[in-house]
């Protein structure tokens, strides 16, 4: 009886946190959005000024541009975005290690930057089209990336469903023995799927960062190609760091929840099942997200000014 008490309290606390989050998140979120909008405007103006400075005073002013771009990257990542939702849901419900989560954050941020560079270089230099056309190419890439989100979701659902249907759940050989260090082991299926990782990477990274494209187009117009590319890579690094922070938090939260739940479940079997159900739910959420983003992107008319 005495052992049951703290468990009840922990459960109660979890439910309370869940309720508080759903009630308070809306207002806090809106405040955050309003603030990020103001900050973003100021950073954009500062970036334009920094680019002009490079044009006028030469490469040394590039240091200012690169550090500002880095800040912009960190900041941009702190705002809302589909990549972060995918990463949080993916890492929160699938069995991935912290190291791979962090790698995913950095790789996807870098890919976003590289895709932006290839988009602008491709349309302006190679195809000799107008900068306006980069927007259309970026829109296509965005759709591709949303489709990849849906594909990732479907793959995760399929993988989890296979695990659930199997007589002996995959990756569940360990018996729980109450120590902190083995908590991750209950989750199924086993980590290390390159396909899921690759799909997650593409679903986030294929969509070129709009801020990066803006900076590149202005840099190219001012004939500052190297400075523009350096700025975008600095942005990617900033974004990577911020998203890696999110990935770390998510993995710790997942492991803590799984550790706490592990105390309720003596032999770890139920927990493994729950892990698989969660993985399935995560896959469903990601599928729904991808499909709704794709639908919104396809049905959205072109912006009248682009």
């Amino acid at each position: 009886m005495a052992r049951r008490w703290p468990l009840g309290l922990v459960l109660l606390a979890l439910v309370m946190i869940g309720l508080l989050w759903t009630v308070d998140a809306g207002a806090a979120w809106a405040r955050l959005v309003a603030w990020t909008v103001t900050m973003q405007r100021e950073l954009h103006q500062a970036l334009a000024t920094a680019l002009r400075a490079v044009a006028e005073s030469g490469p040394l002013a590039g240091l200012g541009l690169v550090s500002l771009s880095f800040l912009y990257g960190v900041f941009h990542a702190a705002g809302p975005g589909h990549g972060k939702v995918v990463i949080a849901t993916y890492l929160g419900t699938q069995h991935e290690t912290l190291r791979r989560g962090v790698a995913l954050a950095f790789a996807s941020a870098l890919l976003q930057g590289v895709v932006a560079i290839v988009t602008v270089v491709g349309t302006v230099l190679v195809l000799e089209r107008t900068a306006r056309q980069t927007q259309h190419l970026a829109d296509q890439l965005e759709r591709l990336s949303f489709a990849a989100v849906a594909i990732l979701g479907c793959f995760l659902v399929w993988r989890a469903a296979r695990g659930l249907l199997a007589a002996e759940p995959v990756g569940c050989g360990h018996h729980h023995h109450g120590h902190g260090h083995d908590h991750g082991h209950h989750h199924a299926p086993a980590p290390g799927s390159g396909r899921a990782f690759g799909a997650a990477l593409l679903s986030i990274g294929l969509r070129p960062c709009s801020g990066a494209i803006l900076v590149l187009v202005l840099a190219f117009a001012l004939d500052l190609r190297i400075a523009g590319i350096a700025a975008v890579l600095a942005m990617s690094l900033g974004t990577g760091i911020a998203v890696a922070g999110l990935a770390t938090l998510t993995v710790y939260a997942r492991d803590t929840a799984s550790l706490l739940a592990g105390r309720l479940d003596e032999d770890g079997r139920k927990l493994a099942r729950i892990g698989q159900v969660l993985a399935l739910l995560g896959g469903l959420v990601i599928t729904a997200l991808g499909l709704s983003l794709l639908q919104a992107s396809l049905s959205a008319p072109a912006h009248p000014l682009f």
């Binding site: 439910v15 302006v124 969660l278």
Partner: protein, 209 residues
């Protein structure tokens, strides 16, 4: 477990809003033109685009700061034609009801230093007297991809009416958290996040008692 699922679902809602984040800015100027009967007949809008948008449009001319006027006119005409179905981002209301607008009557475009400028005049379908209750006027991109705010330190100008006749006040945007959350949530089911921008719009009220 449940709260994590809720959390994951809650995260989904604002996802598409990322697309609606402003990425370009316009410094706004407005001139309200009144007719002889002191009715609002037309609004002249002055848009000063940011350097990034300027680079999109006039990449070849950004470095020099000058662009051929026929090129700029062509782009401006195309943009205004596209903007027609959005009422040129101009939202004028009397007693909360949105007033009908006509087609642009005249426009000018130029490079103003490093930035592209577009000035155009939108007539009201029927001139309207603001009266004591007044009218409201807001200029915003409904998708909020572009943020449009009065240039710092400027406000609306009233033309063709004695300055003491009317009182005009610009209210800064007051995005009510609940409204913003709602707008973001609606994003999932409605197209292109229409209805988001209005929450971040400055609203001009003109009263002529």
């Amino acid at each position: 477990m449940l709260h994590r699922t809720l959390l994951a679902l809650a995260c989904c809602l604002p996802a598409t809003a990322a697309l609606a984040h402003p990425h370009n800015w316009i410094d706004l100027g407005t001139r309200l033109q009144f007719d002889a009967e002191e009715r609002l007949a037309a609004v002249e809008l002055d848009w000063l685009f940011d350097e990034f948008y300027t680079a999109y449009i006039a990449e070849e001319f950004v470095a020099s700061g000058t662009a051929p006027s026929d090129f700029l006119r062509e782009v401006a005409a195309e943009n205004l034609a596209n903007l027609r179905e959005y009422d040129y981002f101009l939202d004028i209301r009397k007693d909360g009801e949105r007033l009908k607008l006509g087609d642009v009557t005249r426009f000018e475009t130029e490079m103003r230093g490093e930035r592209l400028a577009l000035t155009f005049t939108v007539p009201l379908a029927e001139p309207i007297a603001p009266g004591a209750d007044g009218i409201t006027l807001a200029v915003y991109d409904p998708t909020y991809y572009i943020e449009i705010l009065y240039a710092e330190g400027t406000g609306p100008e009233l033309d063709g009416i004695p300055p003491e006749r009317c009182k005009s006040v610009v209210m800064p945007p007051t995005p009510d958290p609940e409204m913003v959350s709602l707008a973001y949530a609606l994003d999932m089911t409605q197209t292109a996040g229409d209805g988001l921008g209005v929450n971040f719009a400055e609203v001009l009220t003109v009263q002529c008692p």
